[in-house]
């Protein structure tokens, strides 16, 4: 079917929402709640009367009326404006409210350059808050080993809660409300709350206060599997990896590759600066649908580890010592030759690797079969 975005005509598929149709055409409609790959929309979990609602960020103008672009389906002949003055006004209003409870310290924030709030504020010229909002300030929660939470920067989009509940499926986080304001807190069992603050179903405020008082922290969550998916989806700097590597997004190059750990084969987008990995994010691969586990998300430190082997080594007088490539290769080949010629090809055996690429495996078995003459080749699949 045909419709118009910002005055230009496009052909779109039937049955999709305006937001998605625009996204597929490369038209970005501002929003905080929908994940980059359209796998979920946290706006559906937001109460309708929430004071600081982010739902209207994604408004578009159709026939003079503002509608939320993720709520309406495309229709033939629709005339959609994604950035009309009316849209801009509405977005400005929301941003003004949000900034009222967000520290304006972007220069010192590691998310700078990637932060959606900062991007939109710049886009719509919002410099300061419009409301006087009273809310409970919270210290950073550093208790998880892989990420930290700085919920004072939280804009209450609900994405982290949503991904943890619906995609990871463990519900380690929950969104509570106190007065007009919502807060993300660790979702703990009644037994634990009882133990720590003597109540098995504390109110939202009591939960937030318990965190401030140091009575509970993210480390108390036995549900959290440290997968870091909440880190990956947070649009601002409220949940961040601890390994900061002090980079800015614009200094990095992004490359997608396949995870090196288990057989799921997740696609990971690495951020690389000066040839070194500084961060990892889930790419929207066919087997991982924009999710990762703790190893894929955080387990890349080994690559730049100081113990990495840098030179060939040969054992001399019982000790491994550095050698040149020529010497090591010649020695290896001569030992293989010696065994092959004196004791037959089956006196040589090789263990190939389930860790390395197909090309290496192919050539390894070819070496043993074609250049040595033995089928003594296996790998640790069985182990």
């Amino acid at each position: 079917m045909k419709l118009k975005f910002n005055g230009r005509e496009y052909e779109v598929e039937k049955g999709v929402r305006v937001f998605k149709a625009a996204k597929d055409l490369g038209i970005d409609i501002p929003n905080f709640t929908i994940d980059e790959n359209c796998h979920f929309n946290a706006a559906f979990d937001e109460p309708e009367d929430y004071e600081y609602s982010l739902k209207d960020m994604s408004v578009v103008e159709i026939n003079g009326k503002l509608v939320r672009s993720y709520e309406v389906e495309v229709e033939d002949g629709m005339d959609i404006w994604t950035d009309s003055p009316k849209c801009k006004e509405r977005r400005k209003e929301i941003l003004g409210k949000v900034v009222s409870f967000h520290p304006l310290d972007c220069v010192n924030c590691v998310k700078l350059g990637e932060c959606k709030l900062q991007k939109y504020c710049e886009m719509y010229g919002v410099k300061e808050g419009t409301d006087k909002v009273s809310y409970i300030k919270r210290p950073k929660d550093m208790s998880n080993r892989f990420y930290f939470q700085e919920f004072d920067k939280c804009i209450r989009c609900g994405r982290c809660v949503k991904v943890c509940k619906d995609k990871v499926g463990v519900e380690a986080l929950e969104m509570v409300q106190d007065g007009k304001m919502r807060y993300v807190v660790p979702n703990l069992d009644a037994k634990l709350w009882k133990e720590r603050i003597g109540k098995d179903s504390p109110s939202g405020k009591e939960k937030v206060m318990a965190i401030i008082d140091g009575k509970v922290s993210m480390a108390d969550s036995t549900r959290c599997v440290s997968c870091g998916n909440c880190v990956s989806v947070c649009p601002v700097g409220a949940i961040m990896p601890k390994a900061q590597n002090n980079f800015r997004e614009w200094e990095t190059k992004k490359v997608v590759t396949t995870c090196t750990y288990c057989g799921v084969g997740c696609q990971i987008e690495y951020l690389v600066r000066d040839g070194k990995i500084v961060d990892a994010k889930p790419a929207n691969g066919p087997s991982n649908e924009a999710l990762l586990c703790v190893k894929g998300k955080f387990g890349y430190d080994f690559i730049n580890h100081k113990d990495r082997l840098k030179h060939p080594m040969i054992r001399k007088n019982g000790k491994l010592v550095e050698s040149t490539w020529e010497e090591a290769l010649d020695l290896a080949a001569s030992k293989i030759k010696e065994a092959r010629d004196n004791f037959g090809p089956d006196s040589v055996a090789g263990f190939s690797s389930a860790r390395t690429i197909n090309e290496d495996n192919y050539l390894f078995q070819k070496m043993l079969r074609a250049a040595v003459g033995t089928n003594n080749v296996d790998h640790c699949a069985r182990l």
Binding site: G263, G265, F302, P312, W325, I336, A349, Y362
Partner: protein, 570 residues
């Protein structure tokens, strides 16, 4: 896998057995949770009360090593109650009468006794599994790492065949591969009996094909498996061992045995770090890590995906293939490749299932093999026209349950299970270098059932000497209620741990897998006090690390400080 990873979400019934999915294949585990939330049914059969057991509709806490009895018991119910797919059986299988006759005696009562579960739970599981044509079996090493591992797999395949659960979306029998490229290593012929694409070395036609392709005479004799290579070295039959990217000193069963062998052979090693195996190596070649090289991995669903270079290689490290190429030339076999893609283009000529793939085609979502031609879209689901073996006919095999000899020796009254944990990977050479992971799981432990612990007067943090016929190890105790009495559990990632105890001699007769999941052990409490010291040591190490070793990581420092303030230790 016969089906896809995300295909698990399309199933009506998911049967997870011998796989602690949320720990070993975490993203797959997330899909199981998603499916459960979407109202799908979940059956879990595992000796350990794994996290997925908590959300399962039916959980069967089977005695270690009794999977075959469970499958037979479920089949008994399926046949008794007429729940099988008669048409599928007629069209696509062979051997139904023998199977039926054999499972007759595996009544739920009989099977329940062997497995240590309630017969009614076996009935319920059978009914649930057979209730749909979208029943998806997912299994991992809890099924294969047994001396009768092949039987275990066959018995699961019997279940799927008899209920017609092949060849469609959301069903099948799906092994979850532990390592990123096990699938690829097998596909590429890193097997003692197979050239690439499972073409047999002892088949003269195949041999002739490869002789033509590679231009040399080839050896028609089956080679040695990993587990048979070790004794062959000790018997002086193998003189040179070439190890690429593996750590047999830790990963192979019966470490003491392995150490002797590695010591004896001339050992050539290729790796990114020195590891336990390097202590015996005569030559070590430094290689690039996955992030520094181009190539392809094949994941557990047979999807071939690109690996792309993004980081700068360290020092003089080289591609694995470059080193192999250099050695081949020195051995008198002339060859030359400029890049991994050249090798890919060669291998696809001799690997029919990869023939239609090119690096260009792998961009985006990759391709599932078989992909025979350049216009073939790949094959996400196998057996859509009936099982491929023997012209569309799947062999049903009547398999009797056998008890592991490890469980029969009364001198070793406990059964030890070994498994993966979420944070670590294999022998930890990579994961342990991410400091946060190291500090999360720094050392080995053993889990003991709480009743056993009471009897043995054990509490968390005590130390236990665990001894099998092969050797022993001393580890810290964690008391749990996730195990049945008489069963213990240990992660397999740590040196001087589980592999000191496992058995290298009794192997699965078909594929030589050692019985890692059932190890007979005896235990003895050893003097305590050390746990606390070790915990303190790690805590201090953690704090020192944050403070000194990596001061640029300011956040780590804050974390450490905060930890101190809060007085929170391990």
């Amino acid at each position: 896998m016969t089906n896809t990873v995300t295909g698990i979400k399309k199933a009506d019934v998911i049967f997870v057995t011998g796989s602690n999915t949320t720990e070993a294949h975490p993203v797959m585990g997330m899909y199981v949770r998603q499916a459960k939330k979407a109202g799908k049914k979940l059956i879990v059969a595992d000796p350990v009360r794994i996290p997925l057991a908590e959300i399962a509709d039916i959980y069967l806490q089977i005695t270690p090593g009794t999977s075959v009895a469970l499958s037979n018991g479920m089949l008994n119910v399926i046949f008794e109650e007429g729940l099988e797919d008669k048409e599928y059986i007629k069209e696509h299988t062979e051997g139904i009468e023998e199977l039926k006759a054999m499972v007759k005696k595996y009544t739920p009562e009989y099977a329940g006794k062997i497995c240590g579960v309630n017969p009614d739970d076996i009935r319920a599981a059978a009914r649930m599994y057979a209730s749909s044509h979208k029943s998806y079996i997912a299994y991992a090493m809890g099924i294969t790492q047994h001396i009768n591992g092949t039987d275990n797999v066959m018995s699961l395949s019997n279940l799927a065949l008899c209920t017609g659960n092949f060849g469609r979306e959301g069903c099948g029998v799906n092994p979850l591969r532990g390592q990123n490229n096990v699938q690829g290593a097998c596909d590429m012929g890193a097997l003692p009996t197979d050239y690439p694409a499972y073409q047999k070395v002892f088949n003269p036609e195949v041999q002739a094909k490869f002789e033509a392709a590679w231009g040399v005479k080839l050896n028609p004799n089956k080679g040695l498996t990993v587990t048979k290579t070790i004794p062959a070295i000790l018997e002086d039959k193998v003189k040179v061992l070439y190890v690429m990217g593996e750590n047999p000193a830790v990963s192979d069963p019966d470490s003491h045995h392995v150490a002797h062998a590695l010591e004896k052979a001339f050992l050539i090693q290729q790796d990114i770090f020195l590891n336990e195996t390097s202590e015996y190596a005569d030559i070590v070649f430094p290689v690039k890590a996955f992030a520094e090289k181009d190539g392809t991995f094949s994941n557990t669903e047979r999807r071939v995906q690109r690996v792309r270079q993004l980081a700068v290689p360290k020092g003089e490290s080289k591609d694995d293939w470059w080193i192999i190429m250099e050695i081949m030339n020195r051995l008198g076999y002339k060859c030359h490749y400029d890049k991994a893609e050249d090798i890919f283009n060669e291998l696809r000529k001799v690997t029919p299932s990869y023939a239609g793939m090119t690096y260009a085609r792998l961009e985006g979502k990759g391709l599932h093999w078989p992909c025979p031609t350049e216009d073939h879209p790949g094959t996400p689901i196998l057996h859509t026209n009936g099982p491929i073996r023997n012209k569309g006919v799947g062999l049903l095999k009547a398999i009797e349950w056998i008890e592991s000899p490890e469980r029969q020796d009364k001198k070793y009254p406990f059964t030890l299970i070994t498994a993966r944990i979420l944070y670590h990977y294999h022998t930890r050479t990579m994961t342990d270098r991410t400091r946060a992971i190291h500090f999360t799981a720094p050392r080995n432990w053993v889990e003991v059932n709480k009743d056993d612990a009471m009897e043995l007067k054990l509490k968390d943090g005590d130390w236990l000497k665990v001894t099998s016929k092969r050797g022993s190890t001393e580890v810290e105790v964690r008391v749990v209620d996730t195990l049945e009495p008489g069963v213990m559990w240990m992660p397999f990632h740590y040196a001087d741990g589980a592999n000191n105890l496992s058995d290298a001699e009794t192997l699965d007769p078909v594929c030589s897998i050692p019985g890692y999941k059932v190890i007979g052990v005896k235990v003895e409490k050893v003097s305590g006090g050390e746990s606390k010291k070790l915990t303190e040591e790690v805590n201090n190490e953690e704090i020192a690390y944050y403070e000194n070793e990596d001061p640029s990581r300011i956040r780590y420092k804050e974390a450490a400080a905060e930890k101190l303030l809060a007085g929170k230790g391990e």
